[in-house]
């Protein structure tokens, strides 16, 4: 189906939609809108990406510093806090020297981001979980915060669309806290993981399942099944994990209706104040520093939660002095990032499997859905909401074996059977966790930078304390020894699940977006990324972000059809 909405001006083309950001959500927006016949301009702040630069099969000994490059430390002191930022691929991550932000004294925030076609979808962890009605309507149960203006029933059809296209491998479990989806065959579990699954089910009645991952276990939509080489974050020659450049963005471009602008660093949205409508965006060419404008009938921000909000904050006008579409004052507020740091690890001495350097590397772990404060569990007194665990078990080389010499060399190869669980806890939306423009700090393109102010609170700390206890008891049930318990609260940002700052809501007085990601204040501005989240749940958010985007785009296409935009 193709519709003709095109209205080409002679001198300056006006696109139907300007999409800012080419990652997981921007790719979907470009695909949906372009395939429906809208003329789309897709803007990416970074360069393009080619499969020729994938390095997943390059052994570490071919790197000059074997992943201890001083260039990474010099140019990416913040980015290297991300496990995926390596000597192999650091150019995909932003240069921290060119992309500064500030934080208040004593309140660090680790902002890990990429500027390259596909954004973080190139290096993401690929874990893909649905939110449940318990997450979307949590306020109705415990009174904290606000319910989402949409229900699980509203989102479910869009989860189906996204999963069907992306390809999510996983196992159905019938767990009320973690709705099942359209799964490709699940990856297998190791012996230690099966042992954990059996003993945790028997002793606690909890579910241990294989991770639901955006990694193909069979050929799917023109992409190949996983060949189990391991390090997805360096790219994939068979395109087996989902990343937008080789899927949604490719589709958008193939439609003939989408024009891609790389190196387009968007500074702000331009307004027609008379009509109270956005006219398009201004960007700085990353290479030439030239300032350019792109016109569009609709502006769709998919730049990543904090970046989308930064663009709106930098777009203030006389009518919107504290940031565009910010009559509520909620823009920049309610910043969330899943709390991590709690968990446990140990050894399974009963399992005699030896580590094997030639074993296929499964790019996935196990998952334990939330079991605290569920409809069937007793209500916790120490905290509201809950957490899920990611983890894994397997034989590993024992590089920390005692001693030296021939016996040490032998011990390394005999290995140890390790098992670990790490929690991802719900991050409560709080007014005092926010971002704003730092008037004294610009990025390398002269665009005012963010000041990010976020701390985890008492509830998050209580979740991690409980997670240490429950992880240890589950590992013990599985027969683990030498159990090490962690109850830390990591620096905010370390989960790389930034959410909120332009939240949805039914009340324009305390939210930025309506239920279709359209700003309450300006009808042709949309924010379709994690900024729109009302609460965080404890599940990895990318799948939900994509489903929300597809739902919002369907609505936008309808409005175009009815000539309302």
């Amino acid at each position: 189906m193709t519709m003709n909405f095109t209205a080409l001006g002679a001198a300056q083309q006006t696109y139907d939609a300007v999409v800012v950001g080419s990652g997981a959500t921007g790719g979907w927006a470009a695909k949906q809108l372009a395939e429906a016949g809208l003329k789309v301009a897709l803007l990416e702040a970074g360069r393009g990406v080619s499969p020729k630069e994938f390095t997943e099969h390059m052994p570490a000994y071919k790197l000059k510093y074997r992943d201890h490059s001083p260039e990474v430390a010099r140019t990416r002191p913040i980015q290297k806090q991300c496990y995926a930022c390596m000597e192999y691929n650091y150019e995909w991550f932003v240069n921290d020297l060119e992309n500064p932000y500030s934080t208040p004294p004593g309140k660090p925030f680790s902002w890990q981001r990429l500027r390259v076609l596909g954004g973080r979808s190139l290096v993401w962890g690929r874990q893909s979980y649905r939110l449940s009605e318990n997450d979307l309507k949590a306020t109705s149960r415990d009174g904290y915060g606000d319910d989402w203006p949409i229900s699980y029933a509203d989102l479910a059809p869009y989860y189906d669309i996204v999963e069907g296209y992306v390809g999510i491998s996983g196992a159905a479990e019938g767990n009320v806290m973690l709705p099942d989806g359209q799964f490709l065959p699940p990856m297998k579990m190791s012996c230690g993981e099966v042992q954990l699954r059996e003993s945790v089910k028997a002793k606690f009645g909890r579910t241990v399942t294989i991770g639901r991952a955006a990694v193909l276990t069979q050929n799917h939509n023109g992409r190949g099944a996983c060949h189990y080489c391991g390090p997805c974050e360096r790219g994939c020659s068979t395109f087996s994990y989902f990343s937008s450049p080789f899927t949604t963005v490719k589709d958008a471009l193939s439609s003939g209706n989408c024009t891609l602008f790389t190196n387009a660093v968007v500074s702000h949205v331009n307004m027609d104040s008379e009509a109270n409508k956005a006219r398009g965006v201004t960007y700085v060419d990353r290479m030439t520093r030239q300032v350019k404008e792109i016109r569009g009938k609709a502006v769709i921000l998919c730049a990543q939660a904090l970046e989308s909000t930064r663009i709106l904050l930098n777009s203030s006008t006389r009518d919107y002095p504290s940031g565009l579409a910010n009559s509520s004052g909620a823009l920049g507020r309610y910043l969330m990032d899943h709390v991590v740091g709690g968990g446990a690890s140990g050894r399974l001495p009963d399992l005699k499997t030896l580590p094997d350097a030639n074993e296929p590397q499964r790019p996935n772990g196990i998952y334990i859905p939330r079991f605290r404060n569920t409809p069937s569990s007793t209500k916790e007194t120490r905290f509201i909401r809950g957490y899920g665990f990611q983890g894994g078990a397997g034989a590993e080389f024992n590089f920390s074996a005692e001693g030296y010499g021939t016996s040490f060399k032998k011990s390394v190869k005999e290995g140890v059977y390790e098992i670990s669980l790490g929690a991802f806890g719900e991050s409560l939306p709080r007014w005092d966790n926010y971002c704003e423009i730092d008037r004294n700090l610009n990025d390398a393109w002269g665009i005012p930078a963010l000041r990010i102010c976020m701390t985890h609170g008492d509830n998050e700390a209580a979740l991690m304390a409980d997670a240490g206890t429950t992880a240890a008891e589950m590992l013990e049930a599985a027969g683990a020894k030498d159990i090490r318990v962690q109850t830390d609260v990591a620096v905010p940002g370390m989960a790389i699940h930034e959410l909120g700052t332009a939240r949805m809501g039914s009340d324009p007085k305390n939210s930025v977006l309506n239920a279709f990601n359209q700003t309450h204040d300006v009808r042709n501005i949309f924010v379709m990324d994690g900024a729109s989240f009302v609460s965080s749940g404890c599940q990895n958010p990318t799948l939900t972000m994509m489903a929300v985007t597809v739902r919002a785009c369907s609505h936008l296409i309808d409005r175009f059809r009815r000539s309302e935009i």
């Binding site: 360069r47 393009g48 990406v49 080619s50 499969p51 020729k52 630069e53 390095t55 390059m58 052994p59 000994y61 071919k62 790197l63 000059k64 510093y65 074997r66 992943d67 001083p70 000597e87 192999y88 076609l117 297998k188 579990m189 012996c191 099966v194 059996e198 023109g222 190949g224 996983c226 060949h227 189990y228 080489c229 020659s237 068979t238 450049p245 080789f246 963005v249 471009l253 193939s254 790389t262 290479m287 009963d350 399992l351 005699k352 580590p355 094997d356 350097a357 030639n358 074993e359 296929p360 590397q361 499964r362 080389f397 590089f399 001693g403 030296y404 010499g405 021939t406 060399k409 190869k413």
Partner: protein
């Protein structure tokens, strides 16, 4: 044909061909200087073996001491040891680019080793006899209290054991990240070894 062979036989090419439109678009916008050396395909594996190699950070004595120590910690057996893997050269390269704290900790540890050797045997570690070297390393590697019980290692304590662990960590990292180290662990150098098979045991029978 096995999956691995399929991939080598050109499966990769067919998927790459399917993606050509995006690729060309993307490449036209790419700046070669914004690729990492690895993304540009640079193979630096022969860098350390270059003729005329000189240390960047360590002095002659420190370098020679490190060669001796590394080959005691990971000796040649039926497989090559740390000396052949040029562990000293890799450590020197990394230390030259490291923070002053890491550089200082390494030199302190190496100096401690030599100091203990001088104190006990009146000879620098690298010139001590094999028996003397072992006597010292055993004392540092296996800390025991007066009753012969294992003492909990504490890497931050500044004890002889902590110094030993600092040196050992650098050596272990350098050795097992080398091509010799990869082979030592049994790697065949390949990257695709079939599907992940996982556990196929019945419940409670995982051994």
């Amino acid at each position: 044909m096995k999956r691995r062979e399929l991939i080598r036989a050109g499966l990769l090419m067919s998927f790459a061909a399917a993606l050509r439109p995006t690729q060309e678009m993307a490449q036209s916008a790419k700046t070669p200087s914004e690729l990492t050396p690895a993304q540009s395909g640079v193979d630096a594996s022969k860098y350390l073996a270059a003729p005329g190699w000189r240390p960047l950070f360590l002095d002659e004595h420190q370098n020679e001491t490190l060669i001796v120590l590394s080959d005691l910690i990971i000796p040649a057996t039926d497989t090559p040891g740390a000396k052949e893997a040029l562990v000293n050269r890799y450590i020197d390269l990394v230390l030259a680019a490291e923070t002053p704290e890491t550089q200082g900790a390494f030199l302190n540890a190496l100096g401690y080793l030599d100091g203990e050797s001088m104190r006990r045997f009146e000879v620098a570690f690298r010139r001590a006899s094999r028996g003397q070297q072992d006597e010292l390393l055993v004392a540092l590697a296996y800390p025991r209290d007066a009753g012969g019980r294992t003492v909990e290692p504490d890497a931050s304590s500044g004890t002889g054991h902590a110094h030993f662990e600092t040196l050992k960590e650098h050596i272990v990292t350098a050795y097992y990240s080398s091509q010799i180290g990869e082979r030592e662990l049994g790697s065949d150098g390949g990257f695709a070894h079939g599907d992940y098979e996982g556990c196929d045991h019945t419940e409670g029978n995982h051994n």
